[in-house]
Symmetry: C2
Subunit: 349 residues, 2 copies
DNA sequence: TCCAAGAATGTGTGCGCTAACAATTCGTCA
DNA sequence: TGACGAATTGTTAGCGCACACATTCTTGGA
């Protein structure tokens, strides 16, 4: 293909008139290289357009500067953002990121992804795969593979970085209750997701704490606008529902749409609150009150945690610290989709 | 850290009672290995939990099985999907994918990303960075780096895989014209994006072909719902506008919202068509008629193109073929957001 | 029975780099 | 001026694997 082979360290050494080891020293910022020598070497490097061979370095040092990311579906807003945050942070530490997407979330796929990444020789892995099954499978991974789970809820055996789902759900639920709603219905995410479970728990806890009745949560949704829509049609027919907390924004969108089609007004007839604060929620009809989670930050924090475990000699971070769970507080973004109920049935203020 | 070192080929060889070379043969599916020997080797591999050292293999073979992806913003729907498609396809060919996200799109960032990837020794690069600036910068990359641009419009000097933006825009525009609109307004994407340019060209061509007046396109938007919203407020005040073709779905969402707030009904008063067909468009209010592009497929095709250039010996694909541009036809997805104009001002059918 | 051709396996070497150690140079103080 | 220690540079030996070649073992036909 290409005429001549890429220059190697020996070539640089010859041109600079030094030994290859000196070149290595310059490239790795070792002390005890005379300034003049260093400059000669760097000049030679530039002249040749030399670039070190990563594989050779890896082989010699027995350590890679690449990290793996396993992601269930990078197409979803949250995972996509987290991936972005991870990559950003990795760059700062001078690590590469290789991704392994898994199509389905059975144990096998997940373990398979772990395997592929290990074959490539990654130094550690961040998992964006918030399902219970995935987490279960991950528990079987040999402990010599540094592993951090991100956005997967906090109740896992793994080192994890996550938003505080329960607190977020509590925020949303309390907000609706404060508005004067007698109770708040909940459009569940898929129960196989830890986030969904935790949000449900937070919702339930908030209700119970306030002594509000706890209605049966609306189950069977899968995070998509489509299932939100389907539930919305049913809710529209139920005059008892005045407030709905949706486990994510996509479903809220579908719900909003169904209610609108059925002639139920939001927020006048029914208040809706979502979760995630994806970029477009502000422009839903009406703009959606939702719980914001900073996915970017989540990704970054996950990477930091991983680096900390891997132990980056260049950053002076000890390879020791054990920090099982990092929890990031979410915040409520108030927009137009929720308000006080029109016909207050009790407790007039 | 871990007590003993990972097993190497020699360990396997010893246990299986063969030479390391035979182990290598088994692992690389070479012919001329007796079945019994192969089994002994594989048993030893399993027993030891041996996994080949990728770095060593790379060093010895002088070729990596990793590909790089440069992406401007994996947070957007399109790029996220393409990345997913790329990873999927890469896995089939047994390649790894490492991502390099760039925050801004100046030449420097892009070239920087290329550099990082080359340092890591990737065999080739897929670029998801549809801006003119990026493409310009890429033209400077040494030609010995296999490079494929994806979703960046077709008018580039690079090997590219893209949806046919002009055809898609034509589809949308003609559809609105066929409905009876006198003309179609266009909410432009950012002019620095090739997709935006091509969509504008397609819109303009369709209009001219039909002899319809060509209004000044609505400029200054940036793909986000926010700018779509801003333009929407202005459009709402303009009774002359009966049909709008938006350069993407996000902007269409903002537009829809603004129109609704202003009391203009869609599609009765104004018809709207988008571009992309992202997952939620069906649940916009009203559900959006849009031009679908199959991002996933785009990503997969890009990867195939790259593999073809890189030349994968294991797949029997020759390292020769030059295929500058691959264009994928888009399709129109008809939903509720567009209809015939209410007050037809001319050409009664 | 023997030999040639081919199948099956083993041996040696180098990929490009870093780590450990050896050798050299330099400065400085007695 | 000489010598000693620190700073600087060079030398050697792998890291784990695949390739080229050498060697041994099977066949099958004369």
């Amino acid at each position: 293909m290409d005429g001549e082979r890429a220059p190697v360290m020996a070539d640089v050494a010859r041109i600079a008139g030094v030994s290859h080891q000196t070149v290595s020293r310059v490239l790795n910022d070792h002390p005890n290289v005379r300034d003049r020598t260093r400059e000669r070497v760097l000049a030679a490097v530039r002249e040749l357009g030399y670039r070190p061979n990563a594989a050779a370095r890896t082989l010699a040092t027995r350590r890679t500067r690449t990290l793996g990311v396993i992601s269930f579906n990078t197409t979803l807003y949250g995972p996509a953002c987290m991936l972005y945050g991870i990559e950003q942070a990795a760059r700062e530490y001078d690590y590469f990121v290789t991704v392994a997407a898994v199509g389905t979330l059975d144990r096998r796929s997940v373990l398979d992804a772990v395997d592929r990444l290990r074959n490539q020789g990654v130094a550690g892995i961040v998992v964006i795969a918030p399902q219970t099954a995935a987490v279960g499978a991950l528990a079987n991974v040999p402990k010599d593979v540094p592993l951090v789970a991100v956005g997967c809820g906090a109740h896992t055996a793994l080192v994890s970085v996550a938003v505080d789902n329960e607190a977020g759900a509590g925020l949303a639920t309390s907000y609706l209750l404060d508005l004067g709603h007698r109770t708040v219905h909940h459009l569940l995410g898929p129960r196989t997701w830890l986030d969904a479970q935790e949000r449900e728990a937070g919702w339930r806890a908030a209700l119970e704490k306030r002594g509000a009745p706890v209605p049966e949560p609306l189950a069977g949704a899968d995070w998509t606008a489509r299932t939100g829509y389907e539930h919305g049609r049913r809710i529209a027919d139920d005059p008892g529902v005045t407030a709905v907390f949706c486990a994510n924004d996509h479903m809220a969108l579908g719900l909003l749409r169904a209610l609108q089609q059925a002639g139920r007004r939001v927020p006048e007839d029914i208040s809706v609150v979502g979760f995630d604060d994806m970029a477009e929620t502000e422009y839903f009809g009406p703009s959606l009150t939702t719980v914001r989670q900073d996915f970017d930050e989540l990704g970054r924090r996950a990477l930091h945690a991983l680096i900390e475990i891997v132990g980056d000699p260049d950053s002076g971070i000890p390879a020791s610290g054990r920090r099982p769970h990092i929890v990031i507080p979410p915040s409520l973004v108030v927009r137009a989709s929720a308000t006080r109920p029109r016909h207050r049935t009790e407790s007039p203020t």
